[in-house]
Symmetry: C2
Subunit: 153 residues, 2 copies
Amino acid sequence: MKLSDKEQEIIERIGVFFEKKGHQPILGRIMGLLLVLDRAEATFDEIREYLSVSKSAVSNALTLLQSLDRVEYTTKPGERKRYFRLKVRNWRKDMQDDMNGIFRISVLLKEVMEVRSNSNSEFNHCISDFQNFIEFMKEEMPKLIEKYDRLHS
Amino acid sequence: MKLSDKEQEIIERIGVFFEKKGHQPILGRIMGLLLVLDRAEATFDEIREYLSVSKSAVSNALTLLQSLDRVEYTTKPGERKRYFRLKVRNWRKDMQDDMNGIFRISVLLKEVMEVRSNSNSEFNHCISDFQNFIEFMKEEMPKLIEKYDRLHS
DNA sequence: TTTTTAGTTCTCTTTTTTATGAACTAACAA
DNA sequence: TTGTTAGTTCATAAAAAAGAGAACTAAAAA
């Protein structure tokens, strides 16, 4: 039960990717592991061994990943073990959430505009312009997704 | 030289927003301050006082913000002080960078596909589907931006 | 009933991040 | 020349995050 160097490297890279999103390191590495394994699932203990981390680390990470709706588990008849796997169906939703996270700056800018006087109209105008841009993007994004679904159905 | 409660609150909120992007707390708070101030600029010492942080914290944060191309400074004739302000022109670019950060998962998924066998075609198919979706988005995004610019010129 | 399996919870250490404060520098001013 | 202003750098303290390991629990198996 050993991962190849290439697999390990990819897991680390995916780990870093999710770490940058503000998650703790193991979360990303567990997701990387579940992506790399051919079965696309693993038991609690397999995860522990593949990643050589403690039980508590795995337990906490899996609890968190499930609460984030990124991981789920199934059981097999006659077995007590849980088989953890990625919630594949949510990937697009997760990505949209990330997009909305980026767009959320416009809410903050709106509040900024509320406290600013109109003495610096050049700067105020820059903020408004940027807000318009974001509003446009926010409106167009769902249309883009619809377009994709129309093309791929 | 005091900020109102409302201004402070907005600065904290903007701080948290940028913290979630992986930056250290003061970076976001400095950006928040520069957004909230009517002049939209502040000297080194004003930043220090408004945010009640140490000189070194301000110095390091400003150096970093400048290297990230988010802040710049101007000087005024006869004054040695620097007037720091946000690089407003880069906001859209920053946002596009953030988007590309989200899309970068497709590079990782490509590598994942390279190490996966074809034994689990259902899962592999899910990955490919998601990759197609991202590729579509990556292609459409610049078009969307063009469209916005055409409408607002 | 006792044991085993599968995971959880709690306490504590290790590591990393964030920021402080003091000493330092560079440029100009008195 | 000495002082002052405007910052920088460095060593370190304080705080937060991440994870380890042991004790614990709950359900099934023997």
